[in-house]
């Protein structure tokens, strides 16, 4: 096999060529967007055009888009400063570490359980929410399983108790319909490199009138919420990639959904158990192969030219059992025996066929090595 199959778009999707071109032009523009002279104005114009363009993609107003260094920083800002002061925070049990980590930073953090399919258990969530909760944060699409969470229901529940509602939409943007205004959310996180934009930029979308306490201090850029010189070229690249992703959304999500179902069916035939269950996004497939070490399967697929992932965190390169799958009630062994394949614009049927050709033998070998 001469060409590699890159099936790890949920980790980082390759930069779209149009984003690269747009960034190249922007990088040649001198000036700090906060400066008042002509060069500064030129930079600021590029930045604000990017902001307006991205806002249109998100269904938000330009003033609601606060650029950050990425999804992690945006989630941190929301979780540390987005709630009503002195109140509890409620998060789902399957959040990304940049949300989940609030458990170590705030005292009263309530964890809303999920069902075996990885979706928020709305009945259980309702029982855990009361008027002491000032912020509810539930992701839009899960980064490991692709599960689409009932964001509308979460907004109703959260607003019903007077809380603000945040959603990490990093894995949603570009794959499912995201409309900030229509969602009713108060806060939403997005990231550029998951949809073919550059690494190093994301945004927190803050509904007008919602106060967020900054985590850092400095020159007061980005609505005084996120100080630091804004990287204009990255913002331009983000907007360019988002525009393309939005233009392609309907066709791409339908195309990738076919590949997703095909990969799931083939993986199940190779002895796998699907963890990606409806409702789910089109771009993520998570499968447990009972009796293997996920690391071994990754090694064998890597050697066969396939880039996949376990989807969960590493400690010093040692793969840890997936907290998301554990929260879904999987055993420790199964949580350490699961792989994630994730799709993007370049993913083709040939990539899926490549995986399905390699998988049966790889699973057999990995079982023997376990």
């Amino acid at each position: 096999m001469t060409t590699r199959s890159y099936l790890d778009h949920a980790a980082s999707s390759p930069l779209r060529p149009q984003a690269l071109v747009a960034m190249g032009t922007a990088l040649e523009t001198a000036g700090n967007p906060s400066s008042l002279h002509a060069s500064g104005r030129g930079a600021r114009q590029l930045l604000e055009e990017a902001r307006e363009s991205l806002a249109a993609c998100l269904g938000a107003k330009p003033a609601e888009v606060v650029f950050t260094s990425g999804g992690t920083e945006a989630n941190n800002l929301a979780l540390l400063g987005g709630g009503r002061p002195g109140t509890a925070v409620a998060i789902s049990a399957v959040e990304h570490p940049s949300v989940d980590g609030v458990r170590g930073r705030r005292e009263d953090v309530r964890v809303l359980p999920v069902t075996a399919s990885g979706h928020l258990d709305v009945t259980a969530a309702r029982a855990l929410l009361d008027d002491r909760v000032g912020l509810v944060s539930v992701q839009w699409v899960n980064n490991e399983t692709g599960a689409v969470q009932p964001v509308g229901e979460v907004v109703r529940l959260g607003h019903g108790i007077g809380a603000r509602v945040h959603s990490d939409a990093v894995q949603a943007l570009g794959h499912v319909e995201v409309d900030f205004e229509a969602s009713g959310l108060d806060l939403m996180t997005v990231s550029a490199h998951k949809l073919g934009g550059p690494v190093g930029i994301g945004a927190l979308v803050v509904r007008r009138g919602v106060e967020v306490v900054p985590s850092g201090f400095g020159g007061g850029q980005e609505a005084r919420l996120r100080s630091g010189t804004v990287p204009v070229a990255l913002a331009v690249g983000f907007a360019a990639a988002a525009r393309l992703a939005m233009a392609e959304l309907a066709a791409e999500s339908a195309r990738l959904a076919v590949l997703r179902d095909r990969l799931i069916a083939g993986a199940v035939a190779a002895g796998g158990v699907a963890n990606t269950l409806t409702p789910c996004g089109p771009a993520i497939v998570n499968v447990t192969f009972p009796g293997v070490r996920a690391d071994d399967l990754l090694l064998l697929l890597d050697a066969a030219g396939i880039d996949a992932s376990t989807g969960s965190a590493c400690t010093a390169g040692v793969h840890q059992p997936s907290e998301v799958l554990l929260a879904m009630g999987r055993t420790l062994a199964d949580a350490g025996a699961s792989l994630r394949f994730s799709f993007g614009p370049g993913t083709t049927e040939a990539d899926v066929d490549h995986v399905l050709a390699v998988l049966p033998d790889a699973v057999t070998r990995a079982r023997a090595a376990a």
Binding site: L300, V318, R365
Partner: protein, 358 residues
């Protein structure tokens, strides 16, 4: 061949992998995570399981352009090496955890996993030579006697050796290897060698054992059974040890005293003069053979510690072990250590020392 190269993060294993790449093998690097609570950094020559070491191994693989993975063997290591180490001390013996790791982890658990995944062999940066024959391989001392590590590989059997590669067996001197590493752009070229037991990064073996076995005071007695001192736990002592005895009753002849034996049941440590450490016969159990078991009696060379001398001896196969008669007496041989025996520079086999006699 498809070879799994164990990369510790040190210079030796990096050059070993580099040599295999240059020889045209399909090499995959793997770093073994052995510690459950790895230290962030390593200080000097201490320890070998830190996160910084894993990163050094990864960077070596980057330079060589080979795939790299970290394999978590911390549970197996805790059970098969660390727990055994503690249990051996508790039983009054002096184990060698490096041999145990080679026998149970590197050339067993790791090798089996590698073979199952389709690799042909496991390579390490040990200094030893492997000569391949049509029907197997023989293990020999390294070209450079000061760096020779054939002793710690002496526990391997024919099936294991058949699946091993030791590319550094012909290295003439360490500075040459460091130069070779620098020429290849390996960033670990100047990294200090590691010496201590990797899972005791502080070097405080007694403290490590105290934490796991507790302290229990007992008597230090002389050859006649007279109490000449007290100790806080027999596991803090090794046969042949002279320093740190803190004896309260001076020796009648004023000469230095050594640990002669440890009785774990009575919790006593027996001390006496150096000549009482004299050993001519060694009983070895749990024998291993690099090319199949030998029978009868034969002449050979015996080594009882990692950098000990090779002592001429007559070796006799016994029911479930070997009996060794040294030509010249040796001093301070601790039960629990391995006796590795050679035919010239070829490793014949090993056994765990169970008992010694004058």
């Amino acid at each position: 061949m498809k070879i799994l190269a164990a990369l510790s993060g040190g210079v030796d294993s990096a050059v070993a992998a580099a040599r295999l790449v240059e020889a045209g093998h399909e090499v995959t690097g793997v770093h073994l995570a052995l510690s459950r609570n790895p230290e962030l950094y390593r200080s000097g020559s201490r320890g070998c399981c830190s996160l910084a070491d894993a990163n050094d191994a990864r960077r070596a693989a980057d330079v060589l352009g080979i795939p790299f993975y970290v394999w978590d063997f911390s549970e197996r290591f805790a059970e098969d090496v660390v727990a055994d180490f503690v249990a051996e001390y508790a039983a009054g013996r002096t184990p060698n955890p490096c041999l145990r790791c080679n026998e149970k982890i590197k050339f067993a658990a790791v090798l089996e996993r590698g073979i199952a995944l389709g690799f042909d062999a496991v390579a390490t940066g040990h200094y030893a030579r492997l000569e391949r024959w049509r029907d197997g391989a023989s293990l020999h001392r390294a070209a450079e006697p000061d760096k020779d590590q054939s002793y710690v590989l002496g526990v391997l059997d024919a099936a294991q050796l058949d699946r091993c590669a030791f590319p550094l067996g012909d290295v003439a001197a360490k500075p040459i290897l460091r130069k070779e590493a620098a020429e290849r752009g390996l960033l670990v070229a100047d990294k200090p060698d590691s010496h201590d037991i990797c899972f005791i990064p502080t070097g405080d073996t007694a403290g490590f054992l105290n934490d796991r076995l507790g302290t229990r005071s007992g008597d230090v007695v002389d050859a006649e059974g007279e109490v000449v001192g007290a100790h806080a736990g027999h596991h803090q002592f090794t046969v042949g040890q002279r320093h740190g005895l803190h004896l309260s009753v001076p020796a009648s002849d004023g000469r230095p005293r050594y640990v002669l034996g440890i009785d774990p049941v009575a919790n006593t440590v027996r001390v006496g003069p150096k000549e009482a450490l004299r050993v001519r016969s060694i009983t070895g159990i749990r024998p291993t053979w690099t090319q199949g078991a030998q029978t009868g009696s034969w002449r050979g060379l015996v080594q009882v510690r990692a950098h000990g001398e090779a002592m001429p001896a007559t070796i006799t196969a016994a029911a479930d072990g070997i009996e060794i008669e040294l030509d010249q007496p040796a001093f301070g041989i601790a039960p629990g250590q391995a006796a590795v025996h050679y035919d010239g520079d070829r490793v014949v086999g090993s056994a765990t020392i169970a008992a010694t006699a004058a």
